[in-house]
């Protein structure tokens, strides 16, 4: 499954409050719309590190990197280089 879809699936299953919810587009603002909150980001970081074998620390830990599905998958791609 492509990175973007894996991330989407994780967010839909684990972070969207009512689970089944409607589609989540690549550009929906996840933090501003409340999909990712302060606890949700901890789960997301764990998921990204485990599934894409990357380490996220220090300067990478800025909200902008996790703003949308699109920015998250770009970030993962760049970390995986």
């Amino acid at each position: 499954m492509p990175t973007r879809e894996k991330i989407r699936q994780f967010i839909m299953n684990e972070l969207v409050a009512d689970g089944s919810g409607s589609e989540l587009s690549d550009t929906v603002l996840l933090i501003d719309s409340g999909v990712i909150d302060s606890l949700g980001i901890m789960s997301l970081l764990g998921f990204l590190e485990e599934n894409f074998s990357i380490q996220i620390s220090g300067e990478d830990l800025v909200p902008d990197n996790f703003a949308t599905i699109s920015t998250i998958s770009d970030f993962v791609a760049q970390k995986s280089l």
């Binding site: 933090i31 789960s43 590190e49 830990l61």
Partner: protein, 381 residues
Amino acid sequence: MDFELTDEQKVWKETIIKFSRQELAYDIAAVEKSGEFPWDAWRKCAEMQILAMPFAEEYGGCGVDFLTTVHSLNSLGYACKDAGLVHALTTQILCGLQIALFGNEALKLRYLPSLCRGEKVFAQAITEPGSGSDALSMRTKAEKQGEAFILNGSKTFITNGPMADVVIVFAVTAPEKKTLGGISCLVVEDGMEGFSKGKPLEKMGLTTLQNGELFFDNCEVSCDRLLGKEGQGAIIFNESMEWERSLLPAVHLGTMERILEISVKYAKERSAFGKAIGNYQAVANKISRMKMNIELGKGILYRCASLKGRNKRAPLDASICKLFISESLKQACLDAVQIHGGYGFMCEYEIERDLRDSIASTIYSGTSELQHNIIARFMGL
């Protein structure tokens, strides 16, 4: 994971136990009554390099790995009966970890050496009169004006606050954003205009520790005092909690080990109805529960410390660790008082102090209820 102690860990543990028994065996009740902070003991701990342990040598640290630091603080919690002093020291180390993990080179060079030497006292300020568990709903604001932030608001219950030289302050920098991007961390120094400190608050336990309010009234903080990036505050908070929820329980587990030893000794020596009270199951069961919780606590503590030492993420483990060990400590102290009967209630045996001190462990660094919430969230609830 293999948690057999290394030679280095054994040396640190033995040295700290010996040091504590020789140098930190002062009359705590007298210090409590005086209302003073035990500065002499603080300086001795700094000389022992306890504050410097996990920091890189280029910043004045010892370059010791995190698991070894955890083992050492465990020994300090075991051998030093002044839990207030130990909490003050641990808070200083936690502030240092925040600076080491997120500070730029200039901040690290400026602050870590004096932190390691204990010359400056550090505090971290998150809680406010109106927000504790819901920490990120804080009201303290830092408005950017040119090359500075103008800080306004107040913080409360801050450990080391009344005597702090340097405070890591969490404040809202972008109110329009959700908390994740709207909070930042600023390093404020005593003496800066608009920054003032309240008197130590009176508490039921941890009496030698100083906790208090901090006030910011148009306090101008230059942008180069930003810890991490603007908007990174909530993430720094989360990350710091993982370290904190591994380090504080190390101390608590040490205290529990001391409580167990005292309880076993008393249960063997005290007799009632012609037998040592330890022969009665109702007493022995309390002691076996202490032992069980210590061994279970070690498992989760070492796992957390080892994960953090390898820079791995451990939010769930850290919450379990904090919750389990702090609740176990509180229970162990209650049981120890009960095992000691009337003597347990009297100050002379010093167990009542451990009980009073232990209550705070289920409140600071996120209450037990909050740890349950975090664990439940990770279970998808």
